[in-house]
Every structure is written in structure tokens, then in C-alpha cells.
């Protein structure tokens, strides 16, 4: 009501003016009728009415809201005041925009990755099934485990398995086959994630059983692109790896799957199998009312039962349990993201200190203005309010700039390097400005506005009327307390900047160390590509071996190619794990001698990657299915299990005790090769074994073909991208038209493995540099202001015969004292804070002497330069001007 009245008041006033006019005319009419002359009639009417303006004013005041009017007046005054000092205003705006921009950028990532709920119905009850071991939490699953979890209906429902990576399938039929991302899932998958079906249906339980037929569910994207969005496709068949698959349904566009998928195919698990291979993930929903603790307790009991049925399947210390799906997805990104958020918090604090200093400087030049206002009756609160309006106007416009800056930069950054972050989407497109980010930026803007505005406002309002009015001119000196406070602000800035720069130095050093790590093979001039071999053709080892022979032969004929090979995995990307026994060696109570990563590889695999052979021999074409079984181990495995003996004398039984598809006789160790870093460059090499692809048991090949692509490795003698077209067409000819995907050089894969470290390093370096820059601006601003304030004093000193060098050194000393204090405090703080970075460091101690020596030095030099300019200016003071200044 009141507000409505307020908003209408201008039109109402016009209305009233007209009404008054009408009244006066009526009264004049009446007077005319009484026989008065025209002019007199009007005069009498006005006299009788009283003052029309006074009437309008009374109505106007009655219609106004004093608070709103006050705010408008404050904003208008603030705008004028900011315009009076454009330089200062622009610097302050840029500083705030930088401070708020970096916060918006990091927060928008935190929001997308950590805060937004998973895009599924009731996301809190979605769980990932895991194995808890005393050391860590493992989240792969095997069919017997999946079956066990499915039976825990008291605590879990909609238990669903799905591919962790996805094999890649070839959508054939039509002119050019394409490789698509096919994800195997169990039939409960769609119910679990609440996938919206827009046509047809999802898999039935029968279709998800062995021999359930070939059925497929299409994603919206594939349906639109490949099938033109034709609903009639449901019920028809499509060709996948030259096998007809019945399309049973289409999933809606808004469904975001854990792994991006073009289509889904049922797993068709044989639930009676004892095959303990871990190759998929399992998620489930808690039954209504069941807590995570209850589910974990129940699963622990189930683990004990499982151990009785499947001895040696899980260690005595280990047991199954659940973690929330969100935690499983984003858990390991939380700490680095929070560290980055703290880092930008520091940048913002520095920015605040900076702007507070600028405003203090400005306020100290306005003492007389405030004194005059106070003399005219402005209360203390009114002066504080006006200055706060000024700082809020600054911080809010800075915040708006920061929002734009932050959003553009986060987009740019994620486009260049998404840091291997989950949930940010392709090129970080999922990072958006939602309500939460907007509110965050708004809140931060208001908070910073108050933070940097309150101190100058309160100190300005504490003016001594008489003394300020009596002082001449505008250059009244700042009070001692205010000067001290400003020095403290600069010291804080330097200390905070030091912390940031130490942090970024540590991460830069880590990154450089990682760059220096030998991956164990030659990443240069190496091209890799993935080929899906999921079709029925490749359920046994022989045809796989055959296409590799034909393929490598054709590739080697391409000019520029030196060597070619294939395998079921690549170094740096992680391998499957498998237990093994060493024949004839006692293993005590343990189920196996040990476990290792394993690859099945073609002949010349080591030559193509230039993995060095240390002893024995590598695989040749003669290591085929009819030849005796052989195996090659890496140095790590050899060192761990043969600290003294000779591995080449021993035989190794892989996957002992496993069922028929994997059963095979022991293999002779024929060679030892160098280590490759498959768990990332920052981890020690893992024991690994290599088996000739041609000698793989058929059952294992069938499983591999379903869950992983075949990786081709091509070594060239020049820039590898140059041969891509010829190699892919050679492969297509050799394999009867199979397409390849994920074409990358080994150098690119190498750089991907450190993308998260690079992401953290890049960001922290940007923040460190921002902090350094802001601190430099801060100390420069303070010293420049101080020199200006002391113009008179400097002039007198000079007139008295002071040396210019003496004056310069005086200013420099003042600046460097602040710097030394700031650096000392900063070193202390950094020393304590770097512990939080410890887990992200590699090859660098958290008290790395280089970082702790170099950074203070760098900071001091920057501070010296920032102080030098005002110091030199101090020596240029002309005594005459300075003395006449007043």
C-alpha cells in the first residue's frame, strides 16, 4: 500500500495540480457571478484557497517514504562523489572486479561439481557399491558380487550394473559405419536413475538374461542425429557390429548418464558364474527409511556369507558397503576445489584491503567536507551511511564486472583444460550461472562493500568539527591512528600475497617435477587409436590376432610409419588387475602370491612404444596359440617378487583357481621390461604383466572384446598426425570396415594424465599473480599517498638542505619496513598453511626451501619497485611550491 502510494506520487501530484486549477476556476466563476471583475475574481479565488504549492507539498510529503528517498539521495551523492575521483574509482572497480571475478569463477565450478545435486530423482538415496579395505575404497564389481548385492533387498533396491568406461561399438549399416559410445547396463539401470523414456520401453529382465536376444535403447542425441528423430525406429532393427539389434526404446534429451552414452545394451549376466573379474560399476538406491549405516552393517554381514561361498574372493579385512553416488563421483575433487576456493578468498581479502586503503586515502582528503556536513546538522550515522552507499555502489558494480569476468574466464579455462573434473560436461559447458552463483556473487559483493567501506566510514564520521573546519585547505593530515591502520592493511596484503605465491610456487615445482618424470617409454611420434571389436566375430582369440597381423602389416606400409602394434590397453591409462601365483612358491595363508596389472599385447608392442627390454626377449609372431604359453613382467614385479632370484627361471600362473573361461596352464616368464607409469606420473610404477594376445584364453578375449576396445599403437618417424588419414584407411581395409576413434598421440595422453595438476597449478598461479599485483598496487598507493601528504614536510627538509638521496631512502625505508613485516608474517602463515597442499605435491617438500626463499625475495623486489616510484617523486618536490602550497 505505502509503496504503491510512493510509486504513484508523481502522477497523483499532476492530478492534484489539475484539481486545484479546477477549484480555482470554479471559485472564480462564482466570484464573477457575484459581479467582480475578471482579475479580481481570480485574485479572490487564490486568496481564499491559500497556497496551492503548500497543499501539493503536504500531499507529496504524505506520499513519500523517507527511507527510500534517503537511499536515493545517498546513491545520488555516492555517484557524484565517485565521479569526482575517476582514477581512484576505476582502479577500485578493477580491483574489486578481479577479486570478485576469481571468486565467481571458482565458486561456479564448486557449485557445479560439489553443490548441485546429481540430476536424478531423490539423489541422496543413490549409492555406489564398494569394497572397503583398510587402505582404501575400491569400486569395481564382478558378477558374483553384483548378484550378492541384488539379494540385499532389505536395504537396497534397483541394484544396477553399468560399464565404467564403455567399449565403443560400431554402428554399421549405411555407407559409413561410426563408432558410438555403447554402455552395457543391467535392466534396473533406467529405473535406478529415473531415465525418462520418450518412446518404447527399456529392457525387460528376460532381455537382460543370457540369450535374451539383441536389444538396444537409444539416446536422444543418437536418435536425432543418426535416425532423424523418427519414432518408427522403435520396433525396427539397427546394425551394431553387423549384428541386428531390436530398438526397444528411446531415452529423453535431459538424461545425463554417469558415462556419456549414445546407446545402451543389456549386460545379460549369467548370475551363476564364479568369474571374479572386476569390470563394471554397481549403483543402487537405499530402501526408504534405511540409513547408510544400516546398509553398511547389512552388507558387512553379507560379506562374511560371501566369503564362505567364494573363499579368497575378498580379503579377511575387507567388506562391502556403500558410499553416496555423489561422493563416489566427486569425492576426490573436493579438497583441491576447496583449496582453490580458499585461495580466491585470500585474493578477495587482498582486494578488500586495497580498496579500503584507497577509500581511506580519499576520505582523509574529505575531512572538511564531512565536518561541514556535520556542522550543518548531519548525524554521524548519516555520514557513515553516505560512505557505505559509496562503497556498496563500488562493490556492486565491481561485482557485476566480476560476474562477467569470472564467467567468461571460467568458460575459457575449462575449454582449454577441464582439469579432469567430473560433472563439468564437455568443455565445461555444464558450468552455468544459476541462482546460487548469482546469489553468491551478490552476497560477496555486499559483504566486500561493507568490509572495505566500514573502516573509512567510521573513521571519517569520527571527525573533530572544530579542528577540521579550522584547518586550511583540503590537505589536512591523516590522523596517526588512521595511518597506522593503513600500514597494517598493507602488511596484511603482503602477507596474504606471500601465502598465495608460495602455494603456487609449490604447485609449479610439482608440475615441473611431473614433467620430468620418465613415463617409461617414448611418448613422442606415437599415434594411438581405439577400435571396437565387440561384434560376434571377435569372441575368440584367433580372429583378433588375425586382424592385428593384417592391420599392423598394412599400417607399416604407410610411408612415415616405423612400427605398429596393438593391445587391450595403453600405458598411462591404467590396466586391468589380475591375481597370480608363482609356480612352486609357498604362499602361506594368502589366496594368491600377488596381484598385478595385466595387458594382452601383440608382437612388437614394446618396440612400438619403445618400452625398454631389460632381460630376456619380447614377444614375436611365433608366440601364437599353438606355441607354449609365455609371459613378460615389468621391473617392478621382478623386484618385488624376486629380490634375489631370477624370474626368467620361473613360471607364473595367472588368475589361479578361476573358472573355465579363464583357466589356462602356467606361463614361462621370458622377459623383463622397463616400468611404465600406469597409475599416473605421480605414483610409483605398479607390478605389471604382459601376455601375448594370440595366447589369450577365448573366454577372456570374449570378455575383453565386450568391455574394452582394441588399442592400436603406431610409431612414426615424423609428426604423427600427418599419417592419421592413411593409417585409419589402412585399418579399415585390413579389418573389413571397422572404424577407429579416440585418435590421439601419446604426447596428448601424457598431457591428459597431468591435466588435474596442471589445472590446479594454472589456477593457483593466476591467483598468486593476482595477489602479488594487488599487493604491489596496495603498497604503491600507500607510499604515493604518504609522499603527497608530506609534500610540505619534504619541501621544508629540502629547503633546510636535505640530500635528495636521503629523502628517497627515507621513503624507501618506510615502504620496506612494511614489506619486511608482511613477508615475515606471510612466511609464518605459509609455513603453517602449506600442509593442506601436501597431498598435491610431488617431488617437492611442503617447506620447499626454494619456494620459501624465492617467494619472499620476489615479493620484496616487487615491493621495492612499487615503493621506488613514490620515493623518486619525493626527491622531485620543489621546495618553493611545497611551501607556498597552502
Amino acid at each position: 500500500m505505502g509503496f504503491q502510494r510512493y510509486l504513484n506520487r508523481e502522477s497523483k501530484d499532476r492530478d492534484l495540480a489539475e484539481e486545484i486549477q479546477s477549484h480555482l476556476e470554479h471559485e472564480a466563476d462564482r466570484n464573477l457571478a457575484r459581479g467582480l471583475a475578471d482579475a479580481e475574481a481570480r485574485r479572490q479565488a487564490r486568496l481564499k484557497f491559500g497556497n496551492p504549492l503548500a497543499v501539493r507539498q503536504r500531499v507529496w510529503i504524505y506520499r513519500s517514504l523517507p527511507i527510500v528517498d534517503g537511499i536515493f539521495r545517498d546513491l545520488r551523492d555516492a555517484w557524484r562523489s565517485l565521479r569526482r575521483t575517476p582514477g581512484l574509482t576505476i582502479v577500485a572497480l578493477l580491483v574489486i572486479a578481479l577479486g570478485i571475478g576469481v571468486n565467481t569463477a571458482v565458486f561456479s565450478v564448486v557449485n557445479t561439481v560439489l553443490l548441485q545435486p546429481l540430476p536424478y530423482p531423490d539423489p541422496q538415496s543413490l549409492m555406489r557399491l564398494v569394497l572397503f579395505t583398510p587402505q582404501r575404497t575400491l569400486d569395481g564389481a564382478s558378477v558374483p558380487e553384483f548378484n550378492l548385492w541384488r539379494q540385499q533387498t532389505g536395504v537396497l533396491r534397483d541394484v544396477a550394473g553399468y560399464d565404467t568406461g564403455g567399449a565403443g561399438l560400431n554402428l554399421t549399416g549405411g555407407d559409413h559405419p561410426i563408432q558410438v559410445q555403447g554402455v552395457h547396463v543391467t535392466h534396473d539401470y533406467f529405473t535406478l536413475f529415473g531415465a525418462p523414456v520418450i518412446a518404447g520401453r527399456t529392457f525387460t529382465e528376460a532381455e537382460d538374461s543370457p540369450h535374451g536376444g539383441n536389444v538396444v535403447v537409444l539416446s536422444y542425441g543418437l536418435w536425432k542425429q543418426r535416425f532423424g528423430g523418427d519414432r518408427k525406429i522403435v520396433g525396427r532393427t539397427v546394425q551394431i557390429d553387423n549384428t541386428p539389434y531390436l530398438v526397444v526404446g528411446i531415452i529423453g534429451p535431459r538424461f545425463v548418464s554417469d558415462n556419456p552414452a549414445d546407446l545402451w545394451i543389456p549386460y545379460q549376466f549369467d548370475l551363476t558364474t564364479h568369474d571374479m573379474a572386476h569390470y563394471f560399476s554397481v549403483a543402487a538406491r537405499l530402501q526408504p527409511g534405511v540409513t547408510i549405516e544400516q546398509a553398511n552393517a547389512q552388507l558387512k554381514v553379507a560379506s562374511d556369507e560371501f566369503r564362505r561361498v567364494m573363499p579368497n574372493a575378498i580379503g579377511p579385512q575387507n567388506h562391502y558397503g556403500v558410499v553416496t553416488l555423489k561422493e563416489a563421483t566427486v569425492g576426490d575433487t573436493r579438497t583441491p576445489l576447496l583449496i582453490l576456493l580458499c585461495a580466491v578468498g585470500l585474493v578477495l581479502l587482498i582486494a578488500c584491503a586495497n580498496v579500503a586503503n584507497l577509500l581511506l586515502a580519499k576520505a582523509s582528503g574529505r575531512q572538511r567536507e564531512f565536518a561541514t556536513r556535520a556542522a550543518l546538522g548531519a548525524g554521524r550515522w548519516q555520514i557513515i551511511r553516505q560512505l557505505l552507499a559509496e562503497s556498496l555502489m563500488l562493490s556492486l558494480s565491481g561485482g557485476l564486472l566480476g560476474l562477467l569476468l569470472g564467467y567468461t574466464s571460467v568458460r575459457l579455462l575449462l575449454h582449454v583444460n577441464d582439469g579432469d573434473l567430473p560433472r563439468v560436461g564437455e568443455n565445461g559447458l555444464a558450468v552455468s550461472l544459476d541462482m546460487r552463483v548469482l546469489l553468491f556473487t551478490f552476497g560477496v559483493s555486499v559483504l566486500t562493500g561493507i568490509l572495505f567501506g566500514l573502516v573509512p566510514a567510521v573513521s571519517a564520521s569520527r571527525t573533530n568539527l572544530v579542528s577540521n573546519l579550522n584547518e586550511s585547505g583540503t590537505r589536512t593530515g591523516t590522523g596517526f591512528r588512521s595511518a597506522n591502520f593503513r600500514s597494517a592493511l598493507v602488511i596484511t596484503e603482503i602477507a596474504l600475497a606471500l601465502v598465495l605465491v608460495v602455494g603456487s610456487t609449490l604447485l609449479i615445482r610439482t608440475y615441473l617435477k611431473l614433467q620430468g618424470v620418465d613415463p617409461g617409454f617414448d611418448t613422442h611420434n606415437t599415434l594411438t587409436m581405439a577400435m571396437s571389436i565387440s561384434g560376434g566375430r571377435f569372441q575368440t582369440s584367433d580372429p583378433v590376432d588375425q586382424i592385428i597381423r593384417q592391420g599392423t602389416e598394412r599400417i607399416k606400409a604407410v610411408p612415415g610409419v616405423v612400427e605398429a602394434a596393438a593391445g587391450n590397453g595403453l600405458p598411462l591409462q591404467g590396466a586391468f588387475g589380475m591375481p597370480f601365483d608363482i609356480v612352486g612358491r609357498a604362499k602361506g595363508n594368502a589366496a594368491f602370491t600377488g596381484g598385478a596389472g595385466y595387458y594382452s599385447v601383440s608382437a612388437n608392442y614394446f618396440e612400438a612404444l619403445k618400452i625398454p627390454l631389460l632381460r630376456g626377449r619380447t614377444f614375436t609372431e611365433r608366440d601364437n596359440a599353438s606355441a607354449p604359453g609365455v609371459i613378460i613382467i615389468n621391473e617392478a614385479l621382478a623386484k618385488q617378487y624376486w629380490p634375489n632370484g631370477d624370474p626368467l627361471r620361473d613360471r607364473l600362473q595367472k588368475a589361479p583357481g578361476s573358472g573355465p573361461p579363464f583357466a589356462e596352464p602356467p606361463r614361462q616368464i621370458v622377459g623383463i621390461v622397463g616400468n611404465t607409469r600406469d597409475n599416473g606420473l605421480d605414483h610409483n610404477p605398479f607390478p605389471t604383466m604382459y601376455i601375448p594376445l594370440a595366447q589369450m584364453p577365448d573366454g577372456e578375449t570374449a570378455l575383453n572384446s565386450r568391455v574394452a576396445p582394441l588399442w592400436w599403437v603406431v610409431r612414426t618417424n615424423s609428426e604423427p598426425h600427418a599419417v592419421v588419414a592413411q593409417v585409419t584407411s589402412a585399418l579399415r581395409e585390413a579389418t573389413g570396415g571397422l572404424p577407429v576413434a579416440h585418435i590421439r598421440t601419446m604426447d596428448e595422453i601424457d598431457s591428459l594424465t597431468v591435466s588435474r595438476q596442471r589445472f590446479n597449478m594454472l589456477l593457483l598461479t593466476v591467483f598468486g599473480a593476482s595477489g602479488l599485483l594487488l599487493a604491489a598496487v596496495g603498497i604503491y598507493g600507500l607510499m604515493a599517498f604518504s609522499v603527497e601528504q608530506r609534500t610540505q614536510e619534504l619541501g621544508i627538509r629540502m629547503a633546510m638542505g636535505a640530500q635528495t638521496s636521503h629523502l628517497r631512502n627515507m621513503v624507501l625505508r618506510q615502504g620496506m619496513v612494511l614489506t619486511v613485516f608482511g613477508v615475515a608474517i606471510g612466511i609464518g602463515a605459509a609455513f603453517w598453511l602449506t600442509r593442506f597442499l601436501a597431498s598435491f605435491l610431488f617431488g617437492v617438500e611442503k617447506w620447499d626451501p626454494l619456494a620459501f626463499l624465492l617467494t619472499p625475495l620476489l615479493l620484496s623486489v616487487v615491493a621495492l619497485v612499487a615503493t621506488w616510484i613514490p620515493a623518486v617523486r619525493a626527491t622531485r618536490v620543489d621546495p618553493m611550491t611545497a611551501l607556498r602550497f597552502e
Binding site: 500500500m1 502510494r5 497523483k12 492530478d15 492534484l16 489539475e18 484539481e19 486545484i20 479546477s22 477549484h23 476556476e25 470554479h26 471559485e27 466563476d29 462564482r30 481564499k48 484557497f49 491559500g50 497556497n51 496551492p52 504549492l53 503548500a54 497543499v55 507539498q57 503536504r58 500531499v59 504524505y62
Partner: protein, 116 residues
Amino acid sequence: MARNKTPDAGEILQGTLDLLILRTLILGPAHGHTIAHSIESTSENALEVEQGSLYPALHRLEDRGLVSSEWGVSDNNRRAKFYRLTAKGHKELAAATSRWRRMTRAIGLILGESNG
């Protein structure tokens, strides 16, 4: 700046003015000029209102929903804003009248007049 107030012998209490306006409007819609003269004449010129002070009162009454207004044409063939008593205004008039009666009676008793 204009002078805000003219201290005036005929200035009447705000609440009273509201009551008089409402009372005048019970005879039918009227514009400000009519209301002013009506109050003047029915009170035998005892209450000589400074005509301008009528308008803040009218606008307040309109905001309170006691009267409504619309532009129309007066007997003099001039544009004028006519005020009309709303249902709420009728109720308020009845309540205010009885309040007024109680008060004048009480004051009369205190001043020792016989209840007439």
C-alpha cells in the same frame, strides 16, 4: 519556498475535517469546490476552511478507501474531480459521528452544561 502553514483561527482539527467531508458527501457525489462551500454554508460560516487544506484530507480519505474519485464535468461545464462516499466510507461516517457525539457530550458535561 512557500510557507507551510498559515496559523488560522478557522483551522479545524484534522479528524473533524474528515468527518465534515464525509458528512457532506452523504448527499451525493461532489467535487472539492462544492464540498468546501457546502461545509462553509451549512456551518453558518462558523467554520471557514482555508479551501486548500481540504485537498490533503480528501486524498487521505481516498487512500483509506473511504471515498472514491473520478473526473467528470461540473454544473459550470468545467472539468472537476468528483468524490463519492464508498460503503466503507458510510460505515466510517456512522462510527465517527457517534464518536463525535460521545465526545461533545462528555465535554459538555465537564463544562457543566445541561444535556440538551
